[in-house]
């Protein structure tokens, strides 16, 4: 046992992390698979989990696959595809009831890991390729998802801002891939990509629940068939700096509320010693309802319903997002810039600091009540190759000074301003 509560081992090139606990009524299982984000692989890689959840060699029909989950007391099985730094992550999750609350014939943890192992490593195949029917259907599914980004204007504006900001980096790509790639994908070429992906992914498997490391290691070694036992470590790239001039992008669409988004660069990442300061600085700027942006843009000026900022320490980017009335664009932009300048000038009150620290402390402590949040926190450290148990981060946050906050804020540089506005510009 170490300070994180996770016991660790390795098998078949998979890092295994187990937290034995009786606190939950469930077993939480999470599998992270990461490969570098790249233009030529992003789309087939994104398609893989969609195909895998259609059927395994054991349960080739999708209805069979899902009935099996229902029989395990409705075990949850889900996946996510997202970007983390310059990596494309595919994350699978399973959660199952702890057997002691129900009468199961076989350990539900064993059934879960075996199910997940099958889903990831033993898919249903036809002529040494993925089943064409599933590939076609899931290709259309991914197409719809990519096309649907525009439905949610908040998300759309956020994504467009990043696209413009990271124009010549892989990070501009949507984690689900590119529409233009979809047509050429078929059972054979996606299966080919799948085999590389399974071999080259960095794999981390987590279990939180009433079990032991030894039990999980044994299950993983027998249920996850993999050709390699090489462990591929994550390589973290150095953040870029902002362009010499701020990019201004205006886009028109039929909407009733304008969306003003801004992208800023920061050299501070998760592995940096200034990470805690940068986190507090973002909290003061726009992370909470008491933050500068919320109190000044929304509460004092009634200019926006939502306004906030987010710090992505894996990419070195901070984004600001707000929903405003179209005609208030200049006013809102000026207030946001002014608040940033105020923060950078070190005009920070003691109460802003203490409230922000108290909120961050609470968020960190609360995360311990959720198995998946504890897993997520621990994985951040594995990803960035930086050991920072919650206790340590708590004390780092506590000791952050006003000067350190100012320094962390000063290295933020505005890169891109994006405004989604209406077709008819009102006078």
């Amino acid at each position: 046992m170490n300070k994180t509560g996770f016991e660790r081992g390795e098998v078949n090139g998979i890092r295994v992390h187990v937290m034995p606990t009786t606190r939950f009524k469930t077993f939480a299982v999470s599998l992270y698979m990461g490969t570098p984000l790249a233009e030529d692989t992003v789309t087939p890689t994104a398609l893989i989990p969609f195909i895998l959840r259609r059927g395994t060699a054991k349960y080739p029909e999708t209805t069979q696959f899902r009935e099996a989950l229902e029989n395990m007391y409705g075990a949850g099985f889900g996946f996510d595809v997202y970007k983390k730094g310059d990596y494309q992550m595919v994350q699978f999750r399973m959660d199952t009831i702890n057997d002691s609350f129900v009468s199961a014939d076989e350990s539900l943890l064993k059934q879960s890991i075996s199910f997940l192992g099958d889903a990831v490593t033993n898919p249903v195949l036809e002529n040494n390729a993925f089943r064409e029917k599933y590939v076609t259907a899931e290709r259309e599914n991914v197409r719809k998802r990519l096309e649907s980004v525009v439905n949610d204007k908040i998300r759309y504006a956020a994504e467009r801002c990043i696209q413009e900001m990271c124009k010549d980096e892989p990070y501009r790509l949507n984690a689900l891939g590119q529409l233009s790639d979809l047509d050429q994908l078929n059972g054979a070429n996606v299966y080919e990509r799948y085999q590389q992906w399974l071999e080259n992914s960095t794999m981390d498997l987590y279990v939180v629940g009433d079990t032991t490391l030894d039990e999980v290691l044994e299950l993983v070694s027998s249920q996850f068939a993999r050709k390699t036992n090489t462990l591929h470590a994550y390589k973290i790239s150095i953040p870029r700096s902002a362009g010499a001039e701020v990019k201004h992008i205006v886009e028109k669409m039929e909407i009733s509320q304008g969306k003003l988004n801004m992208g800023l660069r920061t050299p501070i990442t998760y592995g940096d010693n200034r990470y805690a300061s940068a986190w507090v600085a973002n909290g003061i700027l726009g992370g909470f309802p008491h933050s500068k942006l919320f109190t000044n843009v929304r509460e004092k000026e009634s200019l926006a319903y939502y306004v906030g900022s987010r710090f992505d320490p894996y990419k070195g980017i901070t984004t600001i997002q707000s929903g405003i009335e179209i005609q208030n664009f200049d006013k809102a932009l000026n207030i946001i810039k002014e608040q940033l300048a105020i923060l950078q000038a070190g005009e920070i009150s003691e109460s802003e600091i203490s409230q922000t620290k108290a909120m961050i402390r609470n968020d960190l402590l609360e995360s311990r009540d959720s198995a998946y949040q504890m897993i997520g926190y621990d994985f951040n450290g594995r990803f960035a190759d930086k050991d920072r148990p919650v206790e340590q981060l708590l004390s780092e946050v506590e000791s952050v000074t006003k000067e350190q906050i100012q320094t962390a804020a000063s290295v933020l540089t505005l890169d891109t301003i994006y405004f989604l506005t209406t077709e008819q510009k009102e006078a």
């Binding site: 469930t26 007391y73 525009v150 439905n151 929903g323 009335e325």
Partner: protein, 427 residues
């Protein structure tokens, strides 16, 4: 203070009714860092016409419950409520639904102080002409923001189509016009009626000691001078059995049309356990009919008429009841036609015992999983209690259901005369 032990769930619930009528429930969760508290009034957007025993009948503007919720965060001392919580490391929030308004916080430390803040700010209104007028700008932005949200529009479109008189058809936030007529006096009138402790409930769950919490609430309430209040009657115009519109269409830019089918319940007026039983039976029935492991789901998925976001739900109170099903689709008319054809086939044969057992297992698993989440417990418990039912009865009710119950419900509910369809399509 009394308590009930739920042996199978390994949970004990403590409760007490204060002298002024406030109901207090405490669910200790051993090993949990977090405490989550909700302070709820049985007062939502539908309560726009009411009378307190011995007083005059009152009609108020649409959106006032939600407006009131926003205004509760304003305090006479000028200190924002969010700051009072955040300085103690708590995150606070509130929401208004059709039937209730809920104020909440979650915190890991200084629980006593935070609980005191929660009780005191909700029981200390401060409305002025200025702060009421200012709020109209913020809520106006919120209303506009939702106007751009296609998921929200298709949902409200369905309620508008099904209900002719019930205030369910009106947006929880009201309209820009209706909120413009709200004054501090109307706010105080609603406040005094519905925020009387006898109409409210406090639920605390997490790492707390029940006796300490009860003692704190007892002395907090004793110090406040509440006079007894008569019963509140709520008036609803009689709702015709028939839906108002069979087809409701809204134009908004979307990548793919959105389509929801609603079936309006013919028989209403159920209360307490009978209502809860019908709700659970119907939800189980919908899962058996439309869940993602069913043949029906797979058929429509293969026809590319539905995707992962396809789902169903059921909602019911004494006044109304409806089910809804749908999601994104390439062809709303075809989806409606195919759903009716496929559902009719199932209605003709009914569900098998096998399918029923599997679906029931899934529901039970889902319920047990919910008990990991303090938030879900607090919300579900309160919602059930306000409807005179008990969240902790759900497991025994599920276990008492038979395949015959569900088949009977299937035949009764799938009555196409009661169908309304709401769609959002691109202009």
């Amino acid at each position: 203070m009394e308590s009930i032990r739920y042996e199978r769930l390994q949970e004990t619930l403590y409760f007490e009714t204060m002298d002024n009528g406030l109901q207090v429930y405490v669910l200790p969760k051993e090993g949990f860092q977090k405490t989550y508290a909700t302070f709820a009034t049985k007062y939502g957007s539908v309560d726009n016409h009411f009378q307190v025993e011995g007083q005059e009948e009152v009609k108020v503007p649409d959106g006032i419950a939600h407006f009131l919720e926003h205004k509760m965060f304003e305090e006479p001392d000028g200190v924002d409520v969010f700051s009072k919580f955040s300085v103690k490391g708590a995150s606070a929030n509130a929401f208004t639904s059709f039937e209730q308004t809920v104020y909440l916080f979650s915190a890991t430390e200084q629980i006593e102080d935070n609980l005191e803040t929660l009780l005191n700010y909700v029981q200390n209104p401060y409305f002025t002409k200025e702060n009421v007028d200012k709020e109209k700008g913020i809520i106006g932005q919120e209303i506009q923001m939702y106007q751009d949200n296609a998921d929200w529009r298709v949902y409200y479109g369905l309620l508008e189509a099904m209900y002719q008189k019930n205030p369910l058809r009106i947006d929880i936030a009201g309209t820009i016009e209706s909120i413009s007529t709200i004054t501090k006096d109307t706010l105080y009138e609603c406040y005094n009626t519905f925020y009387h402790p006898s109409n409210m409930m406090l639920f605390v769950v997490g790492g707390v000691d029940p006796a300490t919490v009860m003692e704190q609430v007892r002395s907090n309430q004793k110090a406040k001078d509440y006079q007894p209040q008569g019963a509140i009657s709520r008036f609803f115009e009689e709702e015709p059995v028939a839906v108002g519109e069979a087809w409701h269409e809204v134009r908004l830019p979307v990548s793919e049309p959105k389509c929801l089918l609603g079936l309006k319940e013919v028989k209403n007026g159920l209360t307490g356990e009978a209502l809860q039983r019908r709700t659970l039976t119907t939800k189980l029935m919908l899962d058996l009919l439309l869940g993602n492991s069913t043949q029906l789901y797979q058929t429509l998925y293969d026809e590319e008429l539905i995707s992962d976001d396809f789902g169903s739900d059921y909602s019911s109170t004494t006044e109304y009841g409806y089910s809804m099903m749908g999601g994104d689709t390439r062809d709303p008319k075809l989806l409606v036609k195919r759903l009716q054809e496929e559902i009719n086939k199932v209605v003709a044969t009914g569900f098998s015992q096998d399918a029923f057992d599997r679906a029931l297992r899934k529901k039970i698993g889902g319920y047990l999983r919910m008990l990991n989440s303090p938030e879900s417990i607090a919300h579900e418990f309160t919602r059930n209690r306000f409807r005179d039912s008990d969240f902790f009865d759900i497991l025994p009710i599920y276990e008492s259901l038979t395949v015959e119950d569900v088949n009977a419900r299937l035949r009764e509910h799938m009555n196409w005369d009661q169908l309304a369809v709401s769609v959002v399509v691109s202009p």
